[in-house]
């Protein structure tokens, strides 16, 4: 009899510990005091650590912008470096709050993996890099080649589609991390290195002799890259999404990290709404109303972070191309804040 009572007591103890209230991600982040952000294991321009462990890059700036919007402090981020293969498991299990790791938006990731893509930070496409001395000018001449790629990426699937649909033969050599892939390509394990063109440009800097390699002109896929969150928390999804849109809208409106303080006096109602002078848009997101100012002051607008990390002011020097604003012939287009 007594034993039975104890058994009940213990079971009750466990149910109390499991019957928890699902706390919102934003509240959890505020409570723990930092944002846990999943990034790459080192792709220059997008997310890479220096010798001291400080992270920089376009994807890193997204994390910093979110942290700035929440805490008014872009340094309140902890970075979890992830390989392409492990990134979704880490996000699904809530090991990280947001995944900002040049991740391609696809249907299956948006549905059966239980993820939500919050937008596109970089419109990319997949390309091929080969050694110049192979005398190859087009991807169509690659039949019979050994192809190095990273496993767990859309790249791995696209390259399969590309060669299969053209009845070209190839040997796939798939590695777990980007560094392994680059190293293998550089040592001659493969003839071709394939991934998104932006990443090819970045990884080229890691080769022993970057000038001995060329990126072939063909782009074989659409790769819209963007930050990802888990499903099941609409508020957090909105926070990440609108942090991105705020940066794009700011570029469109000409608000930069330098002029943001003056711009608070601007008569333009759109700027007033972005910077929280009019309306309570920040509160609607669960943030403070000056969230736009915080993002712009600490991190900058989309054009600034693009130029600083991958564009004209960086070692990568990638042309903005598709990533120009819609008003300048590109695809970057943010819904209005109102």
């Amino acid at each position: 009899m007594h034993r039975f009572v104890y058994a009940l007591l213990i079971i009750a103890g466990f149910s109390v510990s499991t019957a928890r209230v699902e706390a919102a991600v934003l509240d959890q982040i505020k409570a723990k005091g930092f944002l846990q952000c999943g990034v790459s294991q080192g792709i220059p321009g997008f997310s890479s650590p220096d010798d001291k462990g400080n992270w920089t890059g376009l994807d890193v700036d997204v994390c910093r912008a979110i942290a700035a919007a929440i805490f008014n402090d872009p340094t309140k981020v902890k970075y979890t470096p992830l390989s392409a293969k492990d990134r979704f498991t880490a996000l699904q299990s809530a090991e990280i709050d947001v995944l900002s790791r040049n991740t391609t938006w696809t249907l299956s990731r948006d549905t059966s993996l239980g993820l939500n893509f919050t937008g596109v930070i970089y419109y990319d496409g997949q390309g091929f890099m080969v050694r110049k001395d192979k005398k190859v000018n087009s991807a169509l001449e690659l039949s019979g080649a050994s192809v190095c790629t990273q496993t767990g990426t859309t790249t791995e699937l696209n390259v399969a589609d590309f060669f299969r649909s053209r009845k070209m033969k190839y040997d796939i050599v798939a590695f777990a991390t980007a560094d392994e892939t680059v190293k293998a390509y550089d040592s001659g394990r493969c003839d071709v290195f394939t991934t998104d063109v932006s990443q090819l440009t970045a990884e080229k800097l890691k080769l022993a002799k970057p000038d001995d390699h060329i990126i072939l002109p063909e782009i074989i896929s659409k790769e819209p890259l963007g930050p990802v969150v888990r499903q099941g928390d609409e508020q957090w999804f909105d926070v990440v999404k609108w942090t991105l849109y705020a940066m794009i809208n700011a570029e469109e409106l000409g608000v930069t990290s330098k002029n943001v303080t003056e711009m608070t006096k601007s008569p333009n109602p759109e700027i007033k709404r972005l910077l929280g002078i009019e309306g309570k848009f920040g509160e609607a997101l669960g943030l403070s109303n000056d969230w736009g100012v915080r993002i712009l002051k600490h991190v900058g607008n989309y054009g600034e972070i693009f130029d600083r990390n991958v564009g004209a002011n960086s070692k990568l020097n990638i042309d903005r191309g598709l990533n120009k604003l819609w008003s300048k012939g590109g695809l970057q287009y943010a819904p209005p804040i109102r």
Binding site: T151, I172, A174
Partner: protein, 401 residues
Amino acid sequence: MSETASEISKIADAGRRSRRSLLDDPRLRAILLQALLLIVVAGLGWALFENVRANLASRNIASGFGFFDVTAGFAIGQTLIPYAESSTYGRAFVVGLLNTLLVSGIGIVLTTVLGFLIGVARLSRNALLSRLAGAYVEVVRNLPLLFQILFWYLAVLGTMPGPRQSLSIPGGVYLNNRGIMLPKPLFGAGSGAILIAFLAGCALAWMLSLWARRRRAAGKTVATGWITLALVIAPPAAAFVLAGAPISFERPELTGFNFSGGLRILPEFLALLVALVTYTAAYIAEIVRAGILAIPRGQAEAAYSLGLRRAPTLRLVVLPQAMRVIVPPLTSQYLNLTKNSSLAAAIGYPDFFYVFAGTTLNQTGQAIEIIAITMAVYLLISLLTSAAMNVYNRRLALQER
């Protein structure tokens, strides 16, 4: 008399009535303790299960095993059975599993041979050879396996020349940074006859060995080595000639980027295999050495005094007895080798862990199902290997009368 009896029963009664703790009964205590443990374990399991269920539901993560029938869409670098990008995840599972079994199977055979050689060499009378074997064991055992895999892959095979500057070995074999290219045998019509002749030769050799064993039991010496060799080689060779040489070789040739044709052994496979074989062999050498040393010297001395030389003494007297000591730890080395083959993930050899718990997991996002299956498969391989080795061990066990 009756007074004493009533006295005793009174004391016993008092004992029975006195307030006794339930904890004083060891059986009850054991039951209580086990019940408590079972409840804690079950409760913990239930809590974990409940958490997973709630987390999966709130995050809309797909679950179930339906993904086995879905098209995989990715290519695999080494496939033992036909596999294309349009095959299913189920087939990718089998491809990965076969790759794991291939590397562990070949690894186990080679590491046993190497391990026995080094173990015997350590006990050699030749001081230089035994020191060398000892140094090998110490160096290899004291470096991490992953370190050795990376060393073989990056520092040895990774620095081989490209296909155009391949190292050429006579007989149509080429070595370069894409692996080893071997001539591939093509079996034409009539190859079946060779196989049948080979099997027949083996059967004859087996019967010969049975006969020789009976002769030896009767105390006669028989040398069957050369006859056995002839029986295994001659019939298939004769069949080969009679059938008009149906086996031809496809030589690897350099076309475009790579060699085409022939058999190709991937450098990833090679690096993993070499590292696993050399690493495990160092442990097996120690097991063999300990096994041989466990046999009393008198056994070898008795054999010498019967006139046997060192090699037959080792082969016929010492090793068969040492095997009883060797087999149990040998089994766990085989299991280690199989489990260690999962380190393929570090160099991109498409083994089971890499294909299934890596690529498939990433594409389907169903981590729980896939890691559970992965663990179950490795457990199953372990259990099957132990079972097989146990059967062998039982055959070796001393038949005590």
